[in-house]
């Protein structure tokens, strides 16, 4: 057990390190001189030279790499080329909509998909099962921007039930801001519920075929108890894993959804950064998101251990 934890933790450190390396290499591969880009077309060669020196760009690549890793370890992800600010503060300023959007859509997806997935597995092959599977497949096939745009036009613009876009004004209150997230969250939640539903159903099907479920029935308990007490707890493990994996899907989805609904979140930030070639911001977003992902997966693995007492290596 301790052995497993140590190995798991070591693995995480290495993965984090690799994430940093990939992010560093990627940006280094970009054509053009970062200093020249930062200063714009009017800069003199002398200006560029000076900036290169102050940014450490004249150092050997290996030294630059070490500095980069050391800085990143202290939370310093460099400065934005576009905003006159550090990447960390730029990211922090845009985090709120993305965090809540992801959270709401995950909750939406879990609330919708888990019970249906469980019931569909239990009533395998029934009309409900078939329609649930088909709907899930459909939901996973429609690009979220299409759903978003259709919602926007009909539910927001025409019916006026929801705000069509934006995040409220600059001085909008918290509730107002959250209200702007409802439609985006549903849009993003639909895609995720498709994945979670299919996964829940599959894990539940596996577990319902297990011998210990047969034992539970032989003990003379109600079907309700068989499913809710004996099967669900075991199905919880794979479901937790998939929730961890959904994180990547949420972030990717958030990028598109924020664009559809004009939300000033990390997704919009990174898209604009790409259009403006603001490499430090792209790099910073990549790093933050990837490390978050690594952490969430560590967390789900630990949760796993708490639920399942079997020693794992």
């Amino acid at each position: 057990m301790t052995n497993y934890l140590i190995r798991r933790f070591m693995g995480m450190v290495v993965v984090t390190f690799l994430v940093l390396t990939i992010a560093f290499v990627l940006v280094r591969l970009a054509p053009g001189d970062p200093a020249a880009l930062m200063l714009g077309p009017d800069a003199t060669p002398q200006d560029v030279m000076d900036l290169r020196a102050s940014l450490g760009l004249d150092q050997p690549i290996f030294v630059q790499y070490l500095t980069f890793v050391a800085n990143a370890a202290q939370g310093d992800l460099g400065r934005s080329l576009f905003f006159d600010n550090s990447v960390t503060s730029v990211l922090a300023a845009r985090a709120e909509p993305t965090v809540f959007l992801s959270l709401f859509s995950l909750i939406f997806a879990l609330v919708i998909a888990t019970p249906i997935g469980i019931y569909a597995a239990y009533r395998r092959g029934s009309a409900l099962d078939q329609s649930a599977v088909t709907t899930a497949m459909l939901a996973a096939s429609v690009p979220s921007f299409l759903t978003g745009l259709i919602f926007q036009r009909y539910l927001a613009t025409e019916l006026g039930w929801f705000p069509a876009s934006g995040y409220g004004g600059p001085d909008a209150g918290f509730l107002d801001r959250m209200w702007h997230l409802v439609l985006p969250s549903i849009t993003l939640g639909i895609v995720n519920s498709a994945l979670i539903l299919r996964f829940t159903r599959a894990s539940m099907l596996d577990i319902l075929g297990e011998n210990y479920v047969r034992t539970a029935r032989a003990k003379g308990m109600s079907e309700r108890r068989v499913v809710l007490r004996h099967a669900l707890k075991n199905a919880g493990i794979p479901i937790i894993t998939v929730v961890g994996l959904t994180f990547a899907l949420l972030v990717a989805g958030a990028v598109v959804t924020e664009r559809v609904f004009n939300l000033p979140g990390l997704g919009s930030l990174v898209v604009n950064a790409v259009l403006r070639r603001d490499y430090p911001v792209i790099q910073g977003t990549l790093i933050v998101v990837a490390i978050l992902y690594v952490f969430i997966n560590l967390l789900t693995d630990l949760l796993y251990l708490v639920i399942d007492k079997r020693v794992r290596y």
Binding site: M137, I150, V256, Q283, L286, A290
Partner: protein, 297 residues
């Protein structure tokens, strides 16, 4: 001949008893939904492939007089803001979208198989390879593709390469897992006991057994890559707008969301329909290929 008939060699049954194991295609095509999906997908694919023959108009011919006209007899799917025929553009754009999906599916499978097979078979390489796969998978697909395209530029080739880099680790992970299972199978031990070399074991035993999971995965990647490319193009970061894709058409039509929703609806439905049918076929493939694996391996 007589002496080959051993006292104990009584054949158990004259015929082997594999009774009515339904064939691959019968299982694949058992469901109506799968038949319909195959027909729909192939129709879309063929129409797009022969766009130059079937398209009613030149997809780039502009006509200011005919701008933003809804579906009509002359223009079945209407015209866009430059008066171009939407149906014709849709067919040409489909060619790009589908070929991106297919190329990504093939390329990422090749990379993934190479990595996964190596990691799965050589236990010494497993740890570093697996950590690299983990690190690659920590970047969400669109975000990674976005960055790659931002850095190398938005050409069709770059989008394909970027998406292949994104999906290859997913294939690698599946291949690695299956290879590890197969590596421990008694028939691999039997091969080793016979004196078969490792590379031959990898080809005859490992590769042959992972072909079906890869095929299934490739079908899904085909679908996901089309979705991801559409997402990139919708964000305005995908392929150069000179060669339209369905995603680009949605992006272009977005300004006219309130007045001409058909501009996003047709390409949007085209994407959804292709992705949906691909996924249904992928699922059916899995069912058709899996019973053997599930039962035998």
């Amino acid at each position: 001949m007589a002496d080959t008939t051993l006292s104990s060699g009584t054949p158990e049954t004259a015929e082997p008893e594999g009774t009515g194991e339904p064939g691959f295609f019968r299982v694949l095509l058992a469901r109506r939904s799968v038949q319909v999906s195959l027909v729909v997908f192939l129709t879309i694919a063929i129409l797009c492939l022969f766009a130059s023959l079937v398209a009613p108009a030149n997809p780039d011919a502009m006509s200011v007089r005919e701008r933003l006209q809804g579906p009509s007899a002359a223009h079945w799917f209407g015209t866009d803001a430059f008066g171009r025929d939407v149906l014709s553009r849709l067919l040409y754009a489909g060619r790009s979208s589908l070929s991106i999906g297919l190329s990504v599916a093939i390329l990422s499978s090749l990379i993934g198989v190479a990595i996964g097979l190596t990691a799965g078979f050589f236990s010494r390489l497993d740890w570093p390879f697996s950590r690299l796969i983990d690190a690659m998978m920590a970047f969400p697909d669109i975000l990674m593709a976005l960055s790659l395209v931002a850095i190398f530029g938005g050409t069709l080739t770059n989008v394909v390469i970027a998406l292949s880099i994104v999906y290859a680790p997913r294939v690698a992970r599946i291949v690695r897992a299956s290879t590890m299972v197969i590596r421990e199978m008694p028939y691999v031990e039997a091969a080793r006991a016979l004196g078969t070399r490792t590379w031959r074991i990898m080809i005859t035993h490992a590769l042959r057994n992972i072909v079906s999971p890869i095929l299934v995965q490739a079908t899904f990647i085909f679908a996901y890559a089309m979705l991801a490319e559409a997402g990139l193009s919708f964000l305005g970061i995908g392929v150069d707008p000179e060669t339209p894709t369905w995603g680009i058409m949605v992006n272009e039509g977005r300004q006219y969301l309130d007045s001409a929703i058909y501009l996003i609806l047709f390409p949007g439905v085209a994407i959804s329909l292709s992705v949906l049918t691909l996924q249904i076929v992928g699922d059916a493939l899995r069912d058709a290929l899996d019973p053997h694996l599930a039962k035998e391996a």
